[in-house]
């Protein structure tokens, strides 16, 4: 017998039906939360270097991150959820980056904007932190030196897909 999404189990009966309905609701809830979060990203532009020029370009016309709901920057880590690390992070700047990251509340995501934030770029020397993922976890890496605005938008869209796919279990399996 095929009851839609459920698998016929001998003693399942009404329990399975109820569980599948429950899962349908939680999936829809996850999609709703994901939709809400992905279209209301508040970036914290942790701007240091040349990539700032492309950050300025992508935030304003004609590239416009406001179409994705991600234009309104919040310069307080308490009020933002996307830490965009734009430009080279040096060892001198690293404690500040870590402090800002730790002050942000969950949910939070990190975008490594540009080659220097991703891996140190071509500054492979004593001064540069060779990639911010050495000190904080990164969700999306946007390559380029500096990346074209289209690349940044692609990065934002991929991050949005990731945010949309996240699960938000209300209860755990032990319930």
């Amino acid at each position: 017998m095929n009851r839609g999404a459920t698998i016929p189990i001998a003693d399942a009966g009404a329990t399975t039906h109820r569980r599948s309905a429950f899962e349908y609701l939680t999936t829809k809830k996850d999609e709703l939360v994901g939709w809400g979060r992905k279209f209301s990203i508040f970036p914290y532009p942790f701007v240091t270097a040349c990539c700032a020029m492309e950050f300025m370009a992508v935030s304003s016309t004609p590239y416009d991150t406001d179409r994705f709901g991600a234009a309104l920057p919040r310069f307080s880590p308490r009020q933002s959820d996307l830490l965009m690390v734009v430009g080279t992070v040096t060892h001198k700047q690293a404690p500040i980056l870590l402090k800002v990251y730790e002050q942000m509340c969950e949910p939070k995501w990190v975008m490594a904007f540009g080659a220097c934030a991703t891996s140190g770029g071509f500054y492979q020397n004593y001064a540069t932190l060779l990639g911010i993922d050495r000190i904080i976890p990164v969700d999306v890496y946007v390559p380029g030196c500096p990346p074209r605005p289209e690349t940044v938008i692609d990065g934002i869209m991929q991050l949005q897909d990731r945010i949309a796919r996240q699960r938000h279990p209300i209860v755990n399996d032990a319930f």
Binding site: V47, M56, S60, L98, Y123, N125, A127, R148
Partner: protein
């Protein structure tokens, strides 16, 4: 995870030693252009004393240069003042060419001048856009960044990149103008007046803007010289000191242009000097387009110019020439030179020391922003906390250039 994070700087004063409130601004701050930290001792709203910390973007430019060839390090040079990357390229190439005793072709000279002025416009647009946005004028920011975006796309058609071009070559340029480039340049220059006309309309007689910038961050010419200010900041004090007029290089001696100066040396003057400098740049660009000669853009000197690719595949001498230039780099005779160009921020100097090989012994950048940071306290002390924002924006500290 909670670890004790060390402070990378030591303040000159702290809350106990000062009889004032000590406030930390930056280095991650919307208005500090990313990488400047200002520790201010306040008496109410008034800034009594300021301790400026830069160096948060020190990326080891000089050390990197010592392990690359004279050619290879061009991308690093670009990323000094990244708002006007072409000027950095050309200043560096000029310095190497003087050491090697190379004279660039006329077409190259005019093109470099044209592109330097074009880059100057991009830099001033960025500075004015950012500083106006920090005062709250978001519309002005959007207008100017849109115009700048058109210029970036235009330069991408020429060089392949929007922001950092690596277009200068020792002895010439990477490639010549594509078809239609000059026609599009004309369109952009017309558009420029439309956009900046709006900015003049929004800002010049705007009561709020005048209140926030007039007589704020003022400095006298004597003080400015004492603290090493050059460029628009020095000119805003009334001193008409401009390397393009005083020690002409490239094609500046053949051009007609004025050097705008200010009156008080305050923020309003710096804004206006930059707006007028952009107008003068356009005047120069139009003259250059009229005078642009035909001819090769790279000097015919096998010490630095790469041979034609077709020859490299056919003849052994071109092959070896190409190989040596790539692997060893152009051999620059031993010696040292200091060359200063008028960058949008002031005097950008390159002090090169060569030991006769294809890798530099020392490439030192005399950075205008760094020297200005040394004198920044003169502009901030005695004014209010909120004045730090427009003053700092008008100084146009570019992190890449300041910290190198």
């Amino acid at each position: 995870m909670s670890i004790e994070l060390p402070s990378p700087v030591r303040a000159a004063f702290d809350a106990e030693s000062e009889d004032a409130v000590v406030v930390n601004i930056g280095p991650s701050h919307p208005a500090t252009h990313g990488t400047l930290q200002v520790i201010a001792a306040l008496d109410g709203e008034k800034v009594q004393r300021v301790d400026v910390h830069c160096g948060y973007l020190h990326r080891g430019f000089e050390k990197e240069c010592e392990s690359h060839t004279w050619h290879n390090l061009m991308p690093y040079v670009d990323r000094l003042n990244y708002c006007s990357a072409l000027i950095n390229d050309f200043a560096y190439c000029d310095a190497v060419e003087r050491l090697m005793g190379i004279e660039i072709t006329p077409r190259c000279r005019y093109l470099r001048t044209l592109l330097s002025e074009y880059s100057r416009i991009c830099d001033h647009l960025t500075c004015i856009a950012a500083s106006l946005m920090e005062l709250g004028a978001m519309t002005a920011f959007l207008y100017l960044v849109m115009l700048r975006d058109h210029m970036y796309e235009h330069l991408a058609a020429l060089t392949g990149a929007r922001v950092t071009y690596t277009y200068g070559r020792i002895g010439g340029l990477a490639r010549d103008l594509p078809d239609g480039w000059l026609a599009r340049l004309d369109e952009i220059l017309v558009e420029f007046y439309e956009f900046t006309g709006r900015i003049h309309g929004l800002m010049d007689r705007n009561r709020i803007f005048i209140d926030r910038t007039r007589d704020v961050g003022a400095i006298s010419s004597a003080d400015a010289l004492h603290w090493g200010f050059t460029g628009p900041i020095l000119r805003s004090t009334g001193a008409a000191i401009d390397l393009r007029k005083d020690m002409p290089y490239l094609a500046y001696a053949e051009l007609e242009f004025d050097v705008p100066v200010g009156i008080n040396g305050d923020n309003y003057d710096r804004y206006y000097v930059r707006m007028r400098e952009m107008d003068e740049s356009i005047r120069m660009i139009r003259q250059l387009v009229g005078k642009l000669p035909q001819g090769p853009i790279c000097v015919d000197d096998r010490r630095c110019t790469f041979p034609d690719k077709a020859l490299v595949y056919r003849e052994i001498q071109s092959l070896i020439n190409h190989f040596k230039l790539v692997m060893d780099g152009p051999q620059v005779p031993a010696g040292e030179v200091y060359v200063g160009h008028e960058a949008p921020n002031g005097e950008l100097g390159f002090y090169l020391v060569s030991d006769g090989s294809g890798t530099p012994y020392k490439v030192h950048v005399r950075s205008p922003s760094f020297v200005h940071m040394g004198g920044l306290h003169k502009l901030l002390e005695g004014y209010q906390l909120a004045d730090i924002i427009p003053t700092f924006g008008s100084v146009n500290m570019i992190g890449g250039e300041c910290d190198r």
